[in-house]
């Protein structure tokens, strides 16, 4: 009985997606216009042949790899800048005072609004322009600095704000106990401040990665881009291939879902969040 109950419990999650998919397919068959509403079997055909070449771009898998690399690079740039700045702003009142208004003014600007300026500044220069030995690599040759900058901006602020919040949420007693046990300077930072604020830092990383991923399509729409899931979607749009568009969207959704899952796993392991 319990097994059936459990299967029933999990089956509930799939009811709505299945109903929606069936509805989609029925409408697509009835409408019979592949450019507006592609049939699901056409979408599935793209998804289930991930290594097949799509149009004149690479395969779905190659485009996924390029997109992932871009997001991870932009995200890492955000991590190595936002976490130290957040720790400093959280711990030192003077740093917070100096930076706070600037951050709050830049934060509401959507990453998309930066596109023209970033293009003016960075053009279509890519990583191989700086590291020529990467020019031969099909993946690295497609990594433009402007793309990374958009993803960086998207990921930066959630990481920064959560890190600041993480430091502020540390009970005063942790820091003071540590100081009266002889901790100061670097050990105080590494052994107390960072681990004590880690649960919220990881939340910031999860949100930052998610937003960076969401900026991807916008970033890959920019001139000079010739690969990636975002590029694939726009290229397919120009050729009115809605099946490829939907397949690209599904790929973005699935990857985003698993990245979020991974970080949530990590978060739940850092059980000390807010506990004493």
């Amino acid at each position: 009985m319990r097994v059936i109950k459990r299967i029933g419990h999990h089956a509930r999650r799939f009811v709505l997606p299945l109903v929606l998919a069936a509805l989609w397919q029925v409408v697509a068959l009835w409408l019979d216009k592949q450019t507006i509403l592609p049939r699901l079997d056409a979408v599935a055909a793209v998804l289930f042949h991930p290594t097949a070449k799509i149009l004149i771009t690479g395969s779905l898998l190659e485009n996924m790899a390029v997109s992932l690399l871009r997001v991870i690079l932009g995200f890492l740039l955000a991590v190595i800048t936002a976490v130290p700045l957040g720790l400093a702003m959280g711990y030192f009142k003077t740093v917070n005072h100096m930076m706070d208004s600037t951050v709050e003014m830049l934060r509401p600007i959507p990453p998309l609004a930066w596109v023209p300026l970033i293009l003016a500044w960075m053009g279509i220069r890519g990583v191989p322009d700086m590291l020529p030995f990467l020019a031969a690599s099909p993946i690295w040759s497609g990594i433009q600095f402007s793309t990374l900058a958009i993803i960086f901006i998207g990921a930066f602020f959630p990481i920064l704000l959560n890190t600041i919040q993480g430091v502020h949420s540390i009970p005063r007693e942790y820091i003071e106990s540590a100081r009266t046990l002889g901790a100061k300077g670097w050990p105080l930072l590494v052994k107390i401040l960072i681990p004590a604020s880690l649960p919220l830092i990881v939340t910031g990383l999860r949100i930052g990665l998610g937003i960076g991923w969401m900026c991807l399509v916008a970033a890959e729409m920019m001139p000079g881009s010739s690969s990636g899931l975002g590029y694939l979607i726009w290229y397919a749009y120009e050729l009115l291939r809605a099946d490829i568009i939907v397949a690209g969207m599904v790929a973005i959704g699935v990857i985003g879902f698993f990245m979020d899952r991974g970080f949530r796993r990590l978060e739940s392991k850092l059980f000390w969040g807010g506990m004493g």
């Binding site: 009970p171 005063r172 007693e173 942790y174 003071e176 106990s177 540590a178 100081r179 009266t180 046990l181 002889g182 901790a183 050990p187 052994k191 107390i192 681990p195 004590a196 880690l198 850092l270 059980f271 000390w272 506990m275 004493g276």
Partner: protein
């Protein structure tokens, strides 16, 4: 010897308002003595402890430990707080070893010392556990072990048993007395619980405020172990109680 001479602490808020937390407080605590600071909340007893710890800087007067001026926190003056005492991301053993780690003691050596101190508080079998797995009383015992492990000159305790239920608190008070007999430290113990003060202290410093100052210092010379129900114990409690009521 711990010496407070004419110590005052004034906090100034952002809008220029001055709050006098401690005013002209002078007190000498000799080695191996257990002194309790009692008083109602806001009377400056915790500020006094924080000044001794070096977590606050006095605005007047000076604090000397063995003739040396107290400047900033140091492992010579370790504090046990009421809440959030242990680092939840570290095992019990790593918590107790933290102070020694900061002194650069090797891993094997500091873990051995930490185990000795865990044994002193009767928790050596919890060494691998994490703080969340321990009861509140056990956590405070570990905190005491952690503070003692660095062999401080003075142990500062800020209502360390204040968040515990009455039974656990009574057990820990007995434990502290047992530990103090084995590892006799100079202890400054802040509490608002008069009975706790009479049970533990060599001297009870009755404070009133704000601004915090000493109302009276009472020599608490009852023979140990002390019996809460003895006439002498109740007399002394009543006396302190009257002093605190008069402080209103």
């Amino acid at each position: 010897m711990l010496e407070l001479a004419g110590v005052g602490k004034v906090y100034s808020s952002i809008n220029g308002e001055k709050i006098e937390a401690v005013d002209n407080l002078s007190l000498v605590i000799v080695e191996n003595e257990l002194v309790c600071l009692v008083g109602r909340s806001g009377c400056g007893k915790t500020t006094t402890l924080r000044l001794i710890a070096g977590l606050e800087t006095p605005t007047r007067g000076r604090i000397l430990l063995s003739g040396k001026k107290v400047e900033g926190p140091s492992a010579e003056r370790c504090v046990v707080f009421q809440r959030y005492t242990l680092f939840p991301w570290r095992s019990v053993l790593a918590n107790v070893a933290f102070g020694l780690e900061m002194q650069g003691v090797s891993r094997a050596e500091r873990e051995k010392t930490a185990l000795d101190y865990l044994a002193l508080v009767g928790l050596e079998d919890q060494a691998r556990a994490y703080p969340v797995e321990l009861s509140g009383g056990m956590q405070q015992r570990v905190a005491v072990a952690r503070a003692l492990a660095t062999d401080p000159q003075v142990l500062l305790m800020d209502e360390p048993f204040g968040a515990l239920d009455a039974q656990t608190r009574a057990v820990l008070q007995q434990e502290l007395m047992r530990i103090w007999r084995v590892d006799r430290k100079t202890i400054v113990f802040v509490t608002h619980d008069i009975q706790e003060a009479v049970l533990l202290a060599d001297r009870v410093v009755v404070m009133q405020g704000p601004p915090g100052h000493i109302r009276e210092i009472i020599d608490c010379d009852l023979p140990r172990p002390r019996d809460r129900n003895s006439a002498a114990f109740m007399d002394m409690s009543d006396r302190i109680h009257l002093l605190l009521e008069g402080a209103e």
